[in-house]
């Protein structure tokens, strides 16, 4: 039953998900290889969660091919789910049980023995730093703790692939870093990760390879570095103006020859160039004086903006 080496763990071709008239996932192709951390980057409503649910065998495929562990989700849902770990977008913890019981009962759903689970629950709670809360109810835990518990729970069956749907959405910055740290450790241990996110920093931190999704379609694929090189410049100059009067209608006369692309946004103007300092110097010499100038590295946000004309977080 195991996939042979070199064969992808998850394989999708022309995968479609429809809800009535709405096409949530529109003929996407991708492969997930063993040991990699693969991400779906895109805004809300891009079709990421629908894709995850199809892989998790809780949403029937409308059209196209989907193989998970070389099995068919429609036929072998039980077998597939036994080998997956799932961290859903909204925590689905059992509020009527304690922290530790959540892991044990969840493990029982996999048919694991209680004696094995007791030890495993302690290991996992230790891993996500929740040992002190083991006997507490789930309800009063903070968002970050609940998320860590959900991650611990998803690992109870020693999954071959861990599916993470928006793993840090809704968490405060500090809690996000704790979660990232734990996921990074898993990655180092060789766990195959498949995650969705609309945070470009999350994608950059965790993903070896990612696809950019928009409106149900995959618009680009590669490593974070590759995507930035391909679809953006090395640096970006951000200009802000005190008011609309000081902001030129047409930038081309100011920026011609200085930068490779201009992206005017409502609150600021982005200038794409390989040398930000040179560009801002050039602008200054031509007499354009914005309220502030910021030179920064290109990010996946810029890639997304370039590919779709929209921002990731709206």
């Amino acid at each position: 039953m195991t996939t042979q080496d070199g064969q992808p763990l998850i394989h999708a071709r022309g995968l479609v998900k429809r809800f009535g008239e709405l096409v949530a996932v529109d003929a996407i192709d991708f492969d997930l290889q063993r040991g990699e951390a693969f991400g779906f980057l895109g805004p809300n409503g891009a079709g990421k969660t629908s894709t995850m649910r199809m892989i998790g065998c809780v949403s029937p495929v409308s059209e196209g091919t989907l193989r998970v562990f070389d099995l068919d989700p429609a036929e072998d849902g039980v077998e597939i789910r036994a080998r997956l770990g799932v961290v859903p977008q909204e925590d689905s913890l059992d509020l009527e049980l304690t922290v530790r019981e959540n892991i044990i009962v969840y493990g029982r759903y996999f048919g694991l023995a209680r004696s094995v689970l007791k030890q495993r629950a302690d290991e996992l709670l230790d891993f996500v730093e929740l040992t002190e809360r083991a006997k507490d109810r789930v309800e009063p835990l903070s968002g970050g703790m609940k998320r860590r518990l959900t991650i611990a729970r998803s690992l109870v069956n020693e999954p071959e692939v861990l599916l993470l749907d928006e793993p840090t959405t809704g968490l405060d910055p500090q809690a996000r870093h704790v979660v990232w740290d734990r996921l990074y450790r898993l990655k180092r241990q060789g766990v195959t990760l498949l995650l969705t996110t609309h945070y470009m920093d999350e994608a950059e931190q965790l993903c070896d390879r990612l696809v950019v999704m928009d409106k149900g379609k995959i618009v680009a694929e590669g490593s974070p570095r590759e995507l930035i090189e391909r679809y953006s410049t090395r640096e970006v100059v951000e200009l802000r103006f005190a008011d609309d009067d000081g902001r030129p209608e047409d930038f081309s006369e100011w920026t011609d020859g200085l930068v490779s692309r201009v992206e005017p946004l409502p609150d600021r103007v982005l200038l794409y160039t390989d040398d930000g300092d040179a560009a801002s110097h050039g602008l200054h010499e031509r007499g354009l004086v914005p309220e502030s100038i910021l030179v920064r590295r290109s990010t996946l946000e810029d890639v997304f903006l370039h590919l779709t004309g929209r921002s990731l977080i709206e």
Partner: protein, 267 residues
């Protein structure tokens, strides 16, 4: 910290065992903390009998069934036992409504090898277990009060299982159609008259003939007939009809529930 993930080892999944049992196990774990409810399950029937049935019986005298006159408590007691088996199963099944519409417990289960069909079977089994706990408590009290008059009484607990199963299946099927809490009022509009009219407090003979067959169509009527016959020892072949009616209701209910839960959870 040892490695938390081993990416080559497979999880064993014993398919031979009914996964529904795991849901029973989960519910039992939650229920452990609410032993108070179970304790009140012991006292409530005692309450009802002393505060209501006995004084009322004093007021009414006996009830004539065929050519035999029964003490009122011996007439109502077994019926209340049947009703309690029904309520225990049916109202526990309606807890599934909350889990189905607002809770996330099933979402979590479905990311494991558990399937929607297992949820329907498991919740039905659990409702039967709870109903049996109540029934056993109630039966004890009937025994202590001397309201079980026949050795057929040994079959009362298995009969309660059949009643519990029938109403658990029906209950879980019913909740899959409920959209909000107001719908529970409608459920009440069915359950209350059934409780009052299914010969719980007075015999079938009080009804005009045309209404009699209507009452005989009520599932609770069959539960009451079954328990009453076993308690009084006046057993006939009709009790097989009672068992068939309730058993069928449970099986059909569970099948419907299984299909409907599938549609509700897998979108």
């Amino acid at each position: 910290m040892s490695e938390v993930a081993a990416h080559t080892r497979l999880t064993p999944w014993p398919r031979s065992r009914p996964a529904g049992l795991l849901i029973v196990e989960r519910n039992a774990m939650v229920y452990r903390r609410s032993w108070m409810i179970l304790l009140s399950g012991f006292f409530e029937p005692l309450f009802y009998l002393t505060f209501f049935v006995y004084p009322l019986g004093d007021f009414i005298g006996g009830v004539t069934l065929g050519d035999e006159t029964l003490e009122y408590a011996a007439f109502v007691g077994p019926a209340l036992l049947a009703a309690s088996a029904m309520n225990g199963a049916f109202y526990d099944a309606t807890n599934v409504f909350w889990k189905l519409r607002y809770g996330k417990v099933y979402d979590a289960m479905l990311s494991t090898p558990i399937s929607p069909g297992d949820v329907a079977v498991g919740e039905t089994m659990w409702a039967v277990v709870r109903s049996l706990l109540y029934s056993a408590a109630f039966l004890n009290i009937l025994l202590v009060l001397g309201l079980i008059e026949s050795w057929w009484g040994l079959l009362i607990l298995p009969a309660c299982f059949v009643i519990g199963f029938g109403f658990a299946g029906a209950g879980i099927a019913a909740v899959t159609w409920m959209r909000n809490w107001q719908d529970f009022d409608l459920v009440q509009l069915v359950m209350l008259p059934m409780f009052l009219f299914a010969t719980t407090f007075f015999p079938l003979s009080v009804y005009p003939e045309a209404i009699e067959w209507l009452v005989q169509a009520l599932p609770l009527y069959h539960g009451i007939e079954l328990i009453r016959a076993l308690a009084t020892g006046d057993v006939s072949a009709f009790q097989l009809v009672n068992v068939a009616y309730l058993g069928l209701m449970g099986i059909v209910g569970m099948k419907i529930a299984s299909r409907r839960i599938d549609g509700l959870l897998l979108k």
